[in-house]
């Protein structure tokens, strides 16, 4: 694992007037990691990203990107950014738009030409390359915006709501691109409302509420974590049910429904075998992973989203 962190922030804070948009953000994100940033509207997600990419000056606290302090110009050449609410220079064609941004990255012309062709192909806009952005749909703009953020083959990419405005095909495209980026060792900082999206793409997530990280979670541990299962069974006695405590906790029998929690899904076939051996009819076993959504509500509460 590389020793330099992709993102490191210490008590980063931003106050607008009397309102602390970000109270105290402390994060450590490794290079090559796909990191999800979750929180209700108004939790300070976009303000945090804006501080990191240098659009907003923090009120206090420290932060570094790829080992360099915020605002370091040469580091910005290794960073990509897709803002949330954007409007691009819509008087340019798709190709001209990417050329302009490649030039702003200081990319050499030949490398830029090759890269633009690659990216237009990747985001599915090759046949629209000569069309002005003013004729693009929201989804197409999102795609060209994503291409813009990847022009310089960045080591670190900030994507603020990259799938808003995208149809399901576009979402899958973004998901695949994020996977490719991870495979190339690019760190992705993903801000999204779509929890299912975060669930399938991210290595780790941070829940933020009122401008503070309230919970950090490895998604791998979420998947290997405790599982609650509901079983529909017949001919079961309380004695047989209590015997399940070898594999499960919180065993609850109600009519022909048996609810229990296991530490690992490997326990489920064991439970099935035990029940069958005791002549219990097993009609259904439905494991329920604790979804990110439930965790989100549990962590952040329901008062968010204002």
């Amino acid at each position: 694992m590389p020793s330099v962190l992709a993102i490191e922030t210490t008590q980063l804070r931003k106050v607008f007037g009397d309102n602390a948009a970000v109270k105290s953000l402390t994060l450590q994100i490794q290079q090559g990691e796909v990191f999800g940033f979750l929180g209700p509207n108004g939790a300070g997600k976009t303000t945090s990203i804006k501080m990191l990419v240098g659009l907003i000056t923090p009120t206090s606290g420290r932060a570094s990107l790829l080992g360099a302090p915020l605002g370091d110009r040469s580091t910005r050449a290794r960073i990509g950014f897709l803002p949330e609410h954007f409007r691009f220079q819509d008087w340019l064609t798709a190709r001209e738009f990417l050329t302009l941004h490649g030039q702003l990255y200081g990319m050499e012309r030949r490398r830029l030409t090759v890269r633009i062709d690659e990216l237009l192909e990747r985001v599915g806009l090759t046949s629209f390359r000569k069309r002005p952005l003013s004729t693009f749909s929201k989804g197409m703009l999102q795609r060209i915006g994503l291409a813009q953020a990847l022009l310089n083959q960045p080591a670190l990419v900030f994507l603020d709501e990259p799938t808003s405005g995208l149809d399901p095909v576009g979402r899958i495209l973004v998901r695949d691109i994020i996977r490719e980026l991870r495979a190339q060792g690019t760190c992705v900082f993903l801000n999204s409302h779509l929890l299912s999206e975060i669930e399938v793409t991210c290595d780790r997530v941070a829940f933020i509420s009122h401008g503070e990280v309230v919970r950090l979670l490895e998604l791998a541990s979420l998947n290997n974590g405790r599982i609650t299962a509901v079983l529909r069974v017949g001919n079961i006695t309380p004695e047989i049910a209590s015997g399940l405590s070898t594999w499960a906790e919180d065993v609850l029998l109600g009519g022909d429904h048996l609810t229990l929690t296991v530490k690992n899904e490997v326990a489920l076939p064991e439970i099935n075998r035990y029940l069958v051996e005791h002549r219990v009819a097993v009609y259904e076993i439905s494991p329920k992973r604790i979804s990110l959504e439930e965790l989100f509500i549990e962590t952040v509460g329901t008062e968010g989203g204002l």
Binding site: K50, L55, R76, F81, Q89, W91
Partner: protein, 284 residues
Amino acid sequence: MSAIFVVARMTFVQAIRRRIVLTGLLLGLCFLAIFTIGFHMINTGSMTSLAAVGSKGIQHILDTEKSSGLFLAGLYAVTFLAIAMAALLGADTLAGEINSGTIQVIVTKPIRRSDVVFGKWLGFSGLLGLYLLLLAGGTTLSILAQSGYVAPHLFAGLALIYLESLLILSISMLCSSRFSALATGGVVFGLYGLGFIGGWIEQIGAVLQSQTAVQVGILTSLIIPSESLWRRAAYEMQSPLSGLLGISPFGATSVPSLLMVAYAVVYLLVILVLTVRVFQKRDL
């Protein structure tokens, strides 16, 4: 490629694609057509009546005065058009892009925020230069073709008018880096109006020999030196006779000194530096 140059070119292409150049060009051509027709009618219409009055020598002086007066009136209108263009271009550029969020993907690139300010300023300066060249050049050629008159110190005069438009552009960009486009427009035209009124108070004060009025005028010029640049330009380009007589509605009675011109240059540079400062500190 230098970032300033990339931004300047982007600014230029933007102005062309968003039909700003086309609109300016059409309006400019309209102005030139009307000016040419007007000049033609005055020129030929008065020729016969005046020819009856005096000798050829007097006739020549009168012709020169007429051409000079009309030339300055034409350039006065050109200056106003250039200033309006400068104010509008400057007002929309930073405020507009901050508002739409376009600026977010520009300033997060490995460039300085000052590159954005200087690049845009250079792009617009180029546009304004071309615009002035078309309008002032057209006015000059129109009069030259019809009466053979060329104003003295033409290039010095045009340079001063160009400087005035750049001054307004810079003030407009400074306001635009902090306020909305609409507020910027209000502030810039308000300031320009202040300079305009101050200029006239100074002129009238000079004619009436009121030292206080002249000082009020100079004070306004220190707040906003745009009008004094025009008056210096008019002074440079006026005919020797009206210079001696000292009366001309578009000319200059109380002439701003070269020190005032130097002040305007320093003023412009300070405004540019302030624009960079304000834009650097602004949360986007």
